[in-house]
Symmetry: C2
């Protein structure tokens, strides 16, 4: 017997499509319903087997769900979660947004009772591609999903959402929305900003001389500008803090180069290499 | 009949070892001699089939060569090329250093006649690994090698060095040492500096939340600090110019975030994405 009767996914892009595929491959629900704004995305999601049924109608799509996952761009998550919660008053809800405090706080302030039904999530998976055609049922395998309950969330509700992600193969970490945003500003949002700036600062006539180093360092600058504008906007303060730390560090390297203080420069590089090597390839 | 009787490679790390392997796999020389400073590297180079013969003695190693490739860290290239040129007075010479003006100018100023025997080269290949154990005979396949003749270099000598790299599968571009250094400051040296700074600015307690974006953007911060200190030092001015362009671009993104001018931010991101997409994955 599948664990869930019906799961609804709002937004069937790369992430929503991958979650749908993962649920269906693992037979975790009797039915996965996909809800989108464009028929072409819904058709693609059906085509690749990410959902059993697809609709443009939110109310109809979420009706009778036990769990709703909102996997849209960040600025649509709060309003869609609130509308979905109204249309499916028994359902648990979570999301897949890259920032958490802004989303979770707008939901809680609009409807404080949702603390017992909505728990924010952020699957650390995706990359610079988008669209259901790149969906992958194993996208979350061994990936981290951060789950961010409110202080007022009943622990068993946070546990249920955490279990859902674990059943898709993910490793779950729980923390507050603010802790999430501070950490992700440093590990994801700033790297994107830095990659966009590095690409944007490259004189195009030099591109034929770009090799692996440039490609790796700027790869995520191929990400969707409209999505990243929203992510930067909804995590602005933590991003600016992380950017200040980065500018300070760049400034130390600049100073060492300007003063030709190469042993100090090498010490900074060694420290950076040590931090990089703490992670794998 | 092999094209060359004897080629000597000074420095048998990742790049020197790969060049040796490539020459031997393509039967381009009757004998490849490896010259190094440590017996362990020479043993490894012999073991993986990068050289036919290996020696710690520079004079003995280069004697009778038609071509000498200096593939050591950048600060040793000029003195070793000068010593090798003396010990093998008939040989052509090239190098594999990541910066060119400083190296080529020290060689030319020490011995102006070497303009007819030494032509600088920079194979855009390698990456963040080092050591002959990662050597790969196909490392240069379809990669760019920049060849930087002096104004006084006879064209047939530059052509000979260019042909050598082409025979190893590379695509050759000729330009002046200064043009090379300007371009590579933007496409390689600055990305390394930015990656080191980004890694160094990451609070270590946040590392468990690093995903693909952070890994890609900081991958080259795993590179050898001692080698990169030399590269930064020998291309200091062009690197500082590129860094200024980068800081200016980062400053524009910061300003848009601070002023919450999200449509301007998105325009900058779109421009960066367009430049990034001009290259492949």
């Amino acid at each position: 017997m599948p664990r869930y009767q019906r799961i609804a996914i709002i937004g069937v892009g790369l992430l929503g499509g991958s979650i749908g595929k993962a649920i269906r491959q693992r037979k975790l629900a009797s039915e996965v319903v996909g809800i989108g704004r464009r028929q072409s995305s819904l058709d693609a999601a059906l085509e690749i087997g990410a959902v059993d049924r697809a609709t443009l109608n939110l109310k109809e799509g979420v009706a009778g769900s036990e769990l709703i996952v909102v996997a849209t761009p960040v600025d649509q998550i709060a309003p869609l979660a609130l509308a979905a919660a109204k249309a499916a008053p028994e359902s648990l809800l979570t999301d897949a947004g890259s920032t958490k405090a802004s989303i979770c706080e707008s939901i809680l302030s609009a409807d404080p009772e949702l603390a017992s039904r909505f728990v924010g999530s952020h699957p650390l998976a995706g990359g610079h591609r988008s669209g259901p055609e790149h969906a992958d049922g194993d996208l979350l395998l061994a990936r981290t999903v951060v789950v961010t309950p409110f202080a007022s969330t009943p622990p068993e509700i946070a546990a249920k959402i955490s279990d859902f992600w674990r059943l898709l193969g993910a490793i779950v970490k729980q923390m507050t929305p603010a802790e999430h945003d501070q950490a992700l500003a440093a590990t994801s949002h700033l790297p994107h900003l830095a990659a966009f700036a590095l690409s944007g600062a490259t004189p195009e006539e030099f591109l034929p001389l770009a090799a692996t180093g440039w490609s790796d360092t700027t790869r995520i600058a191929a990400s969707d500008p409209a999505l990243w504008r929203q992510i930067f906007a909804t995590n602005r303060e933590a991003l600016l803090d992380a950017l200040t730390r980065y500018e300070d560090n760049l400034g130390l390297l600049r100073q060492a180069c300007e003063q030709q203080d190469w042993s100090t420069l090498e010490k900074h590089l060694q420290n950076a290499q040590r931090i990089r090597n703490a992670l794998g390839d």
